[in-house]
Amino acid sequence: MKRLAVPLTAALAAIGMTVSLWLIFVNAPLQWGKNSNDTLNMSSLFFNQKIFYFHVAHAFMLFASVFVAGTCSIAFLKTRNARWDDIACAAVNVAVLFGAVVLVTGSIWAKPAWGTWWNWEPRLTMSLLLWLILVGYTLVRQFAGASADRVAAGMAIFGMVGVPFIYKMVGSDSHPASGANGVVATLGPGMKGAFWLSVVSFMCWFIALVVFRVQSIRAARELRELREAALDAGVLE
């Protein structure tokens, strides 16, 4: 089962991504806006709306990983079981990738939609701040030596608690809204399926990467232990 986890989720993600690509580019209608007199016009999104499906799916995973890392870090500090720490670390590593994708695709979207590559638009700012926390976490992990796991766990927990404050701080905005009357709720019939499929397939992708990364971290730990054993046995100088 453990051996199968990565290939299985990765395969699911691959199938899901292929189907959602087809849905997005062939099946889903173009995004038409409405003029004030209720006639159709080509809104600023239009074909660019195709970025939305993957961009938002990545953003979901970015936000989710902050909470995954936070809760796993709490569990780690409570139980001192390094397995929790491995999951937190892996989730953050993968989330750094997802955050990078969110920021890059977001700013590519911003160019045609708002005319600049970057405006300090609230949700973009929020993604950037969370991403910075996660990058800080990976830096701490790398360079904090023996107490890296504790310091990083603390950072993940503080970051998680800070999310509502960051959310409150950035306030409301020009970005396509989320929530009950947001973009997701107003997606057309051909769009909703494509959107949720891409969210699910990127979740699978995220899980596959995290599990893979956890295995890698565990292998690194095993290597450290082996090295110690080898030093004791005189194999290594």
């Binding site: 173009l30 080509m42 239009f46 074909f47 660019n48 195709k50 970025i51 993957f54 961009h55 990545h58 993968v94 990738l97 990078a100 994708v101 890059v104 695709t105 590519i108 979207w109 160019k111 045609p112 990467l209 893979f212 990364r213 295995q215 890698s216 292998a219 690194a220 095993e222 290597l223 082996l226 090295r227 054993a229 080898a230 046995a233 005189g234 194999v235 290594l236």
Partner: protein
């Protein structure tokens, strides 16, 4: 939709024909009026009185001529149909062209975004993969060396 367009066009073309008829009627009225205008220029409004009759006659002749030709109505409907179809097609083509232009304009960004996403993911996976491969290789060699060392140690102990 199509039917109402056709009727509209028929009515339109009919009224154009009729307007032409009344136009020529007033033209003839002006011609007849110019004669009386030499007497009293002010009496102009009174002059066209014969024109309705003339126009009516003309229209009658015209309608009669049109009715006499059995293919005429069909021909008018056909022409109207064709022009409206061309116009409709042109509208559709225009809309599509505008949409295509917008898509082409957007396409660059969409391609860029998707390319960025895939490139970042692929780089990440390759880095992870290589790291994992290196780790596994190192673990394997270390474990082998360790086992060999332990084995020799054991055999030496057994000897002594």
């Amino acid at each position: 939709m199509k039917k109402s367009l056709v009727t509209l066009l028929v009515v339109l073309s009919g009224s154009i024909v009729l307007a032409d008829g009344s136009g020529s009627g007033s033209g003839s009225a002006a011609g007849s009026g110019s004669g009386s205008a030499t007497v009293t220029p002010v009496a102009e409004p009174a002059v066209p009185t014969p024109t309705p009759a003339a126009a009516k006659d003309l229209r009658k002749t015209c309608t009669a001529a049109m009715n006499a030709d059995p293919t005429f109505a069909a021909a008018i409907v056909k022409t109207a149909d064709e022009t409206s179809a061309i116009k409709r097609d042109q509208d559709i083509i225009d809309a599509h062209q505008r949409a295509a232009a917008k898509v082409a304009e957007n396409e660059r960004h969409v391609i860029l975004a998707y390319a960025a996403m895939w490139i970042l993911s692929i780089i990440f996976v390759i880095v992870l993969w290589r790291k994992q491969g290196g780790l596994n290789a190192e673990i394997a060699t270390l474990r082998r060396d360790l086992e060999a060392a332990l084995a020799t140690e054991k055999s030496e102990k057994a000897k002594s």
